[in-house]
């Protein structure tokens, strides 16, 4: 929480070079970036990626090993469109990491839930969980089959992997939260990232079934270090950039009440 100190030198920009680009779909690409300066980055923490002349975009990497960082970006506006135009060999500026990520050091069975491109920090978390050797199931919810992002990668990590599509074009048909309700009882922890509606539903399910959860929220982040106040979570006074972006069920229940 915000009580603690922070090394604000993470506000200094650093950069990396694009080594590889993967086109997931028309609107989503992943970029493998060889970073110049290793900075510790937990799954769920975020960076601010900067296109000089345009804006900064908060992104939670989909993979990081201290040398290679992968970011997964959906086209949503001028800056993300400019990111999509970047090529292999281009330099990418960023600062961070900011905020609190997913905590996966407790032994137990993890249920990992990614909605849309919210699957980014979830797949990075899956890598960490495998390093720890814990059991996990990876569930990705998308509109249609071509939107799926990391299903093969999750399988290659040896995780039980489920794709849920709203239109039933692949995997299980329906809403990811309906599927989660069927299996949530078998798990100790739920980690989720995705659209707000999905997160609130997951919180409700976790409260109902007594499963501890950590959920990553998205917001308009400007300063990144908890002083400008632009990224307040609803009207709680909590700041997504500094108190989050990952909040645990204890904090969410206290501040959001019985959502």
């Amino acid at each position: 929480m915000y009580l603690t100190g922070y090394d604000i030198s993470i506000l200094r920009f650093t950069w990396g070079v694009i080594e590889d680009i993967l086109n997931h779909s028309k609107s989503i690409k992943s970029f493998n970036i060889r970073v110049r300066e290793p900075r510790d980055l937990d799954p769920g923490q975020f960076i601010m990626l900067w296109i000089p002349g345009l804006e900064e975009v908060p992104l939670s990497p989909s993979y990081y090993d201290g040398s290679l960082m992968r970011i997964t970006v959906m086209k949503r506006g001028p800056t993300t469109e400019a990111i999509h135009r970047l090529r292999i060999g281009d330099r990418v500026f960023y600062r961070g990491p900011f905020g609190n990520g997913f905590k996966v050091s407790n032994k137990g069975r993890y249920l990992l839930v990614g909605g849309g491109y919210g699957a980014s920090p979830i797949i990075y978390t899956a890598h960490k969980i495998r390093e720890y050797g814990y059991e996990a199931m990876y569930v990705e919810g998308v509109k249609t089959e071509s939107d799926a992002l990391f299903i093969d990668e999750a399988k290659s990590l040896g995780l039980d992997t489920i794709l849920v599509t709203e239109d039933g074009s692949s995997g299980i048909k329906g809403l990811v939260t309906d599927y989660i309700e069927e299996v949530i009882n078998e798990y100790d922890y739920l980690l989720g990232c995705g659209p707000e509606g999905m997160l609130l539903k997951l919180l409700e399910l976790c409260n109902r079934y007594g499963v501890e959860c950590q959920l990553s929220f998205e917001a308009i982040v400007k300063c990144g270090v908890g002083i400008c106040g632009s990224c307040e979570l609803y009207n709680t006074g909590l700041l997504v950039c500094r108190d989050g972006p990952v909040f645990d069920s204890r904090i969410l229940s206290r501040y959001l009440g019985g959502v």
Partner: protein, 300 residues
């Protein structure tokens, strides 16, 4: 150990005030900050219309502090009714910062602030990164007089003028007092620039920003000292406070209250308790029972 201070008409349980611009965008944010032991809180600057602020990057890291160009982001002054509502039982004075470009903008917001029952007004005449809504206003002593007298004549609560590095600081202060200000908040951030050497471009989208943090502290202390010496009025000292001794230094220079801001980014909100503990230890070690004895001590 008595940390209470009198800031003009206001009684503060301790001299530490949340400086304007930090987490004062909503009532819920101020409410939360209020739980950390501050003696008073200042809102972000409110304007007539809502402002979305500048594009990112709005913050740049420099070795001696931070540079910001937030662009006076705020939801517009009408939102202050909700802010007041959510702060009604917070129990410490709330100062509302006001920005504008014309006298009637300041007076419209000020009378609303007074009506809502806030405790004081701070006129931001020194924002270094929004053209026509800050530093230039404070640079013109005659315009300062018009704004301050316009506001002071219609409100019942104390009015403070937040100054920056103006062309003639003493003239700006003098005209503020002539206009009816109870005191001065000194100082705002100082216009500055940071360039990323690899991007080879200014970091801030607005190019220029306001420098805060340790670099500006001695400048702020000088200005507080000079104002106290010349006028002996209530002063809120702001600028680069990073620990308790910076607060004591401001008080010795003549400040009755001290604003903190940038340090919250690095040390978190709990820095308030750390500062208050440091002040208490200092007072005990040095044999002072009341903090107010120290106001202006170095100036006597």
């Amino acid at each position: 150990m008595d940390l209470r201070v009198r800031l003009g008409k206001l009684e503060l349980r301790n001299p530490i005030i949340l400086a304007s611009g930090i987490l004062g965008l909503s009532g819920s944010q101020l409410r939360r900050v209020g739980e950390y032991g501050f003696g008073g809180l200042t809102t972000k600057s409110y304007t007539i219309e809502a402002r979305r602020g500048y594009d990112t990057p709005i913050l740049a890291y420099v070795k001696c502090g931070l540079l910001n160009a937030v662009g006076l982001e705020n939801p517009g002054y009408r939102e202050l009714a909700r802010v007041r509502e959510s702060l009604k039982d917070v129990g410490i004075p709330i100062i509302v910062s006001i920005a504008g470009s014309k006298v009637d903008e300041f007076t419209t917001i000020a009378s609303y602030v007074d009506e809502l029952g806030f405790n004081a007004i701070e006129l931001n005449l020194s924002c270094p990164h929004v053209e026509g809504m800050g530093l230039e206003l404070g640079d013109d002593p005659n315009y300062v007089y018009k704004i301050v007298s316009g506001v002071s004549s219609i409100v019942s609560i104390p009015v403070y003028v937040k100054i920056g590095l103006h062309r003639d600081i003493m003239a700006t202060v003098g005209k503020s007092l002539d206009g009816g200000a109870e005191g001065i908040t000194a100082i705002n951030t100082i216009r500055a620039l940071a360039i990323d050497v690899y991007a080879r471009k200014p970091v801030l989208s607005n190019v220029y920003g306001g420098l805060s943090g340790p670099a500006i502290h001695p400048i702020a202390v000088r200005i507080v000292y000079d104002i106290y010496r010349e006028y002996g009025i209530p002063i809120i000292g702001v600028g680069g406070v990073s620990s308790w001794d910076d607060v004591i230094e401001f008080i010795l220079a003549g400040a009755s209250a001290v604003g903190v801001g940038t340090v919250i980014a690095s040390k978190g909100l709990d820095v308030v308790r750390e500062i208050l503990d440091g002040i208490k230890t200092y007072m005990m070690d040095e044999g002072f029972k009341e903090l107010s004895e120290l106001i202006g001590y170095a100036n006597k």
